[in-house]
Symmetry: C2
Subunit: 305 residues, 2 copies
């Protein structure tokens, strides 16, 4: 960057020929993460969640500002050092620079604003899915909801998994997948509210409907063992997965298959896009017997309030 | 903009040849404005204060995101309509577009992140002041501190001034002045913490010192009448003025004088830049008899807590 923290604002050099991608997200203690989370956990989750929006646009994240509201019990060198180390690690790993921000006193709240770059005209949006397109997701689904159960100490599940804790506090933003899907995917979104809700956003923006096949859903063996009854609902409706859901038209399908075959893209086909139809819900789910399932979306989970 | 609110992020077209200027500011109810402020007052103050950072850089503000944390008593259509109308009016007036954001539930807090553009290499910074430069300020000084007294109902002052209330809730960001000072000013800052503190930032960043002449300070007649004893301290140390303080080298002085003469720039010369000297404070104040004054900076004013 041309000029960083310390002046009235940061001065940034945009790469010629690029469009900007800009998004803000706020995380509130007790709502988006438990009050007991460590500084490092808070920092990594906040940055990862925000980076996920960049991934969904196929953008290369470049800069971010941080507005941090801190309560007195956390405004100490130890908490801040832990927080800064966590933020620095993810920023370095993802190649994004902190260029400014503000700190105020109050209940623990973070607002991050990220700016990324994408070659002009190549951004992935929600609005390009067409009938006949295939629906894909990256990684595993349901980890987010299962990790939320682990965090909130649902005793009946006996969850004791470092992998799930890691998935909650450091959800891996799918930046590299987003970059590879430019000029290949017809639409893309990150799964923050749950597959059905987020694929529903693609359907709405594109004027189409979608059908998902349950036997194609990528669910980690650990999750299936943990709670076979919950696993499907977690995968369909659980939030916080921060994987990408994207659609691909028939003429680009071979490119996606090749990326998957070469190990350059961790993704799986889970369904199909159909024409718009206002008489049915935007996203339908069928099992291996082609039976239409009724999915009841659970309420949004808060932390103890 | 290419794509606005409704996708994972906004997609923005940068003007070729421009650098970006990016800044975030948080305003907390009860700290940065009174709990009793109306939606419109909160919105206009938040956007104006953030725009002031763009003015200080000589940037043309283009886009902003808003992260709004709302308590239950304000999460209603009436408060939000008033807030949105205020935000919209300032945004339209200053040519800046809301491109995204986030709303959460909690104590009233706003974080705005603005992105502006400036022709490459022409941004105004704090670091370019040199010995022999003249120090200028735009508009009047002390209005911010006086308006704070008005807001906090300091009865001993009998303040009843719509102009001052307006100055607090809608401080006019000096965007046009900033644009005109590109390639003219050697350093620039907006006065948010008080003239002495903010000119001190220029001195520190530039490795120089400054002398201010009290009889040159632009103080509104209203303020002088209100409290002759306080007026000088308000002008020197009061925050919230959101005027620009800038320095100009001798070879550009005629340009500034011409802009002022033509009525295109409302500014006044208030002092001089001297070489760096670690044995004195960065900013000295002398009266018309050239007597050095001792200025005791008052503490930061909170609202009732």
């Amino acid at each position: 960057m041309a000029l960083g923290i310390g002046d009235d604002a940061a001065l940034l050099n945009v790469t010629p020929g690029q469009q900007l991608v800009m998004a803000s997200d706020t995380l509130v203690a007790g709502v988006h993460f438990p009050e007991t989370a460590s500084g490092r956990q808070v920092a990594t989750r906040a940055l990862c969640v925000n980076l996920s929006d960049m991934a969904a646009m196929g953008a290369n994240p470049r800069w971010f500002t941080l507005a941090l509201t801190l309560p007195r019990d956390k405004a100490n060198a130890e908490w801040l050092a832990d927080f800064s180390a966590g933020l620095g690690d993810i920023a370095k790993q993802q190649g994004v620079a902190l260029v400014g921000g503000d700190t105020t006193s109050g209940p623990l709240t973070l607002t991050l604003t990220l700016v990324g770059e994408v070659p002009a005209g190549e951004a992935l949006t929600r609005g390009g899915a067409g009938p006949g397109d295939s629906v894909f997701v990256t990684g595993y689904l349901g980890d987010g909801a299962a990790s939320l159960e682990a965090i909130t100490n649902n005793k009946s599940l006996h969850i004791d998994s470092d992998r799930l804790l890691q998935r909650f506090y450091s959800p891996q933003p799918q930046i590299q997948a987003g970059l590879k899907l430019r000029a290949i995917a017809s639409a893309c979104i990150d799964i923050s509210d749950g597959l059905m809700a987020d694929l529903g956003h693609i359907c709405k923006a594109s004027g189409v409907t979608a059908v998902i096949q349950t036997e194609q859903l990528p669910i980690a063996a650990e999750i299936l063992e943990l709670s076979p009854l919950d696993a499907l609902e977690w995968a369909l409706c659980g939030g916080d997965d921060y994987q990408l859901c994207f659609t691909v038209a028939a003429d680009h399908l071979a490119k996606v298959d090749a990326l998957i075959e070469l190990g350059e893209l961790d993704a799986r086909r889970i369904g199909t896009i159909n024409p718009g139809d206002q008489s049915i819900s935007p996203v339908s789910v069928i099992d291996k017997n082609k039976t239409l399932l009724t999915v009841v979306k659970p309420g949004y989970n808060h932390f103890g309030n």
